[in-house]
């Protein structure tokens, strides 16, 4: 009797320990963001107004959307090194065609999303390394953007500008938008049955294939979603900056990877966390503002993002050390 009871209690105990470690792991992105916000408010209490938060998180929405796009690709164990160029192209299409001939603009953006799905199919069918294909595609997107808009300019459609300038009561718009995006992706990817299947392809593609799901369809769905969110990110960026430039979003590639990783996503195994990724993206967006308040030279802006990334991953390694 005791011999039977002992292992079960052990199992229970270890499951509790695992639960708490997972809880810690899930809480880490939120803790990081709060720590950073706390530091900023402590140094500069005047930042603690809706206006201050709006100012600091000005560019957060496009970064959050690009991070979501990256997360979709990461779910199927790939990596997208072209998302920055793609966001730039979307912004350029928005500032030219979408503004002048809306129908052509919408068609072009839809074609971009289809191209992304096609890219997913190519990578999947030929078993090409996604890093290399997307690196090549980053040239294509950038080139198309340069052809469309050789010099910075264009104009954002009026509705886009007024959408991004929307001031909801109580909550600053970037925060409201982040919450909506996080909930939307969380429900879609983590709470629906097809979402679980999509993540399953990241975890064990062979098992998913054997149980009758099409892995080509899953990959294409994820890449199409990445394209959709890339387009949204470009439009959001355009709405804020009101004009576009082919190079406007090139650093989003690295930012989106960093944001997703900060939020607890992993490169393999379909382990992703939409809510965490949104928090990670917000953290990176805030890191730049924090430097200004800390009076650190802007030379170190990129470096600070790297340092935060390293610090959080070191913490996570410390927290979940015993997991594997």
């Amino acid at each position: 009797m005791t011999a039977n009871a002992l292992p079960s209690r052990n199992a229970l105990f270890s499951r509790n320990a695992l639960l708490s470690r997972n809880a810690l792991r899930a809480a880490l992105p939120a803790v990081t963001l709060l720590l950073l916000l706390g530091t900023i408010f402590w140094i500069q209490p005047r930042a603690m107004t809706p206006f201050g938060i709006n100012l600091m998180l000005n560019l957060a929405v496009p970064i959050v959307l690009a991070t979501m796009a990256q997360l979709f690709v990461m779910t199927v164990n790939d990596l997208d090194l072209s998302i920055g160029g793609f966001v730039g192209l979307s912004a350029c299409i928005g500032a030219t065609w979408l503004n002048q001939t809306p129908l052509l603009g919408v068609a072009a953006l839809a074609a971009c999303i289809l191209a992304y799905a096609g890219l997913g199919a190519l990578i999947h069918l030929r078993r090409l390394p996604s890093i290399v294909v997307t690196l090549g595609m980053s040239f294509v997107w950038l080139g198309l953007a340069v052809i469309l808009l050789p010099t910075p300019g264009g104009a954002a459609p009026g509705w886009l500008k007024s959408l991004m300038a929307f001031k909801p009561p109580y909550l600053p718009f970037p925060i409201l938008a982040s919450i909506v995006i996080a909930l939307l992706v969380h429900v879609g990817l983590m709470r629906t049955s097809y979402g679980a299947i999509l993540r399953g392809f990241g975890g064990n593609p062979q098992a998913m294939r054997r149980s009758g799901w099409s892995s080509l369809r899953a990959t294409m769905t994820m890449y199409a979603l990445a394209g959709l969110f890339g387009v949204l990110s470009g439009l959001a960026l355009l709405g804020i900056s009101t004009s576009a430039d082919a190079n406007i979003a090139l650093r989003y590639t690295l930012l989106s990877i960093a944001g997703a990783i900060l939020g607890g996503c992993e490169f393999t195994g379909g382990r992703v966390s939409p809510v965490g990724a949104v928090l990670g993206a917000l953290t990176l967006a805030l890191a730049g503002s924090a430097l200004t308040f800390l009076r650190i030279s802007p030379d170190w802006q990129v470096g600070a993002q790297g340092a935060i990334l390293i610090a959080v991953l070191a913490l996570r390694a410390f927290v979940v050390r015993k997991e594997d």
Partner: protein, 316 residues
């Protein structure tokens, strides 16, 4: 007799040289026969830089899935900035400057190792976040830097030996050394073994951790070497000089016929792919296309070559 009997199409390096030759042919066609030999010399000189970083990236990628060094561009910039600062334009300080740059490479490699091994970060993220820090260090250290490289370094980097650029000769020698190291030394065989099956290698007595660490340091040192040569070649250090080497270093490894899944290296292919990459860009330039079309075609052709050269039979 069929084509495949005449040509070594089965060799992994064949396609990269074939592509380079095709790009050269197109270039000569567009130039209408003028400057065909000059194109070869220029491509040797420029491809040498791709080869140097490509060899380092090849060693890292050979270590197996997930191993990649994204800090190469930042390391190139930092090494060049440090070398220019230390040399201060004086010929006498060249050895010191080169040592300082290589020291930067070793430091970057060790830092990457700390992140990968002690903090257990995936190499992509480790080298990515390291590159953020390195880039900031380079910007901060290089602010207002307007030192020209010492005359002797400039002369060396642009010199020709019997018409062949000296840096190309250096890159050929380096490639030969790497080839011998991979095929004939314990370290080189260990890199291949770890890439094929780390557990089997560990059971066979290979010190897996040490081999990985040494390879990341080696890659960073190659990037630093490239930075010094590039600064000498192009007349100084600039803050975005490393930028194009991220794609280049990965592309030459893949186009050159190395396995992205690791365990299979291919030194001649690196040279073929580097020549191809440079000739492709010159060809598109000579066609007189706009910048946008050049970028689009570069991207599409690289993807086409990778698709034709074949994906991986094994799971990624």
């Amino acid at each position: 007799m069929t084509l495949s009997a005449l040509l070594p199409t089965r060799k992994p390096w064949f396609w990269s040289f074939a592509a380079a030759f095709a790009a050269w042919g197109m270039l000569v066609l567009f130039l209408q026969g003028r400057g065909a030999d000059e194109a070869v010399t220029a491509s040797l000189a420029f491809a040498a830089f791709f080869v140097i970083v490509g060899l380092g990236q090849m060693m890292v990628i050979t270590l197996g899935p997930g191993n990649i060094d994204l800090s190469i561009p930042a390391t190139i910039t930092l090494a060049a900035v440090v070398a220019m600062r230390v040399m201060g334009g004086e010929d006498a300080n060249i050895p010191l400057g080169v040592l300082a740059a290589l020291g930067c490479g070793v430091a970057v490699g060790l830092f990457n190792n700390v992140l990968i091994h002690l903090l257990r970060m995936p190499p992509i993220i480790a080298t990515l976040s390291a590159s953020f820090l390195i880039q900031s260090a380079a910007i901060s250290y290089g602010r207002g830097l307007q030192v020209r490289p010492p005359q002797a370094l400039q002369d060396f980097a642009t010199a020709r030996l019997y018409g062949v650029p000296v840096n190309a000769v250096c890159a050929v020698l380096l490639a030969a050394v790497v080839g011998v190291v991979l095929a004939r030394t314990v370290y080189g065989r260990s890199v291949l073994a770890v890439g094929q099956n780390p557990r089997a290698a560990w059971l066979a007595g290979v010190r897996v951790g040490l081999v990985r660490s040494a390879t990341y340091v080696l890659c960073a040192v190659f990037a630093a070497l490239c930075g010094v040569l590039l600064a000498g070649f192009s007349g100084g250090a600039s803050l975005d000089m490393g930028q194009e080497y991220l794609l280049a270093s990965i592309a030459v490894v893949v186009i050159g016929g190395c396995s992205v899944a690791g365990g299979r290296a291919n030194v001649p292919g690196i040279w073929g792919a580097s020549l191809f990459l440079f000739l492709l860009v010159s060809m598109l330039n000579s066609m007189g296309l706009g910048a946008g079309f050049r970028l689009v075609l570069t991207g599409l052709i690289i993807i086409a070559v990778i698709t034709l050269a074949g994906g991986e039979p094994a799971q990624r």
